[in-house]
Amino acid sequence: MKTKDQMAEPEALTDDNATARASQGDSEAFSYLYEQNVNRIYNYVFYRVGSEADAEDITSRVFFRAFGHISNYVDKGVPFSAWLYRIAHNLIANWHRDNFRRHEVSLDEHIDLPQRIEQPEATMEQTQEVELLLRAIRNLTEDRQQLLVLKFTEHLSNAEIAVIMNKSEGAVKSLYHRSLASLKVEMKKLGFQEEGLIVVGGEEESE
């Protein structure tokens, strides 16, 4: 049995009600959504742009844009994160376009791998290999990059990626296989060998 005071208290924030409350101007609800999504959006942006500074800048812009347009947000049963990913994708596309205008991206461009990647056993060699892998990913088309990053760093299912990319699940599945094939080609171009592709924890060396 609830008392009058308890009944007057606002409903606790959950994933289900936070979006509706945030769109009505509830700043606490928006903070809740921010906390739920900031890590994943930063992670996604970082893997698309390759530098901490740019990832921080773009992530900030994603949330400021979301904050500015939250009153227009219409809940269509799609997760709020999908909306944020789309904003991030558009801002990253603008960032790449502006970057390309400023200077042609050099193949030797340094990719700023942050220390916070949780791989205490990582060696210098592995870091270089990760850098090359990221470079290979960035040589792919925008939609392939987006798909691979969502798949491998966010571990999203094809259905979830389909919502974010506004495609059918079948189209995502097909694009995924094409993306993997293209990635292998890019990796070969950058000098990877098919078998000893990436050495993780010395597994490949021991074979």
Binding site: G25, S27, F30, S31, Y34, E35, V38, N39, Y42, N43, F46, Y47, A55, E56, T59, S60, F63, F64, F67, G68, H69, S71, P114, R116, I117, E118, Q119, Q126, E129, V130, L133, L148, V149, F152, T153, E154, H155, H177, L180, K184, L197, I198, V200
Partner: protein
């Protein structure tokens, strides 16, 4: 029969290779977290940011006025041309 078996084996090999590649990618591409300081700063900025929505200026009324002006001028010109002896 032999050809079909070979094809099936090849397909299995390809699938195994793809799974192997996928698991390596998953192992290598670790999630990256932003620094706690950055997360707090951004949260604070969002809380203190004035609520402002930047909207594009709607040019439709101006364009309609312009088109109406051109149409009126054209109509007047044609009317005067007809009235001229």
């Amino acid at each position: 029969m032999l050809v079909e078996k070979k094809r099936a084996n090849k397909r299995e090999d390809e699938m195994g290779e793809e799974e192997n590649f996928e698991s390596k990618m998953t192992t290598v591409l670790k999630p990256v977290k932003p620094s706690a300081g950055y997360v707090d700063r951004l949260k604070h900025s969002l809380k203190t940011a004035p609520y402002a929505v930047i909207e594009r200026e709607d040019n439709t009324p101006s364009l309609l006025m312009l088109l109406l002006g051109i149409a009126t001028a054209l109509a007047t010109f044609l009317l005067l041309r007809r009235l001229r002896p």
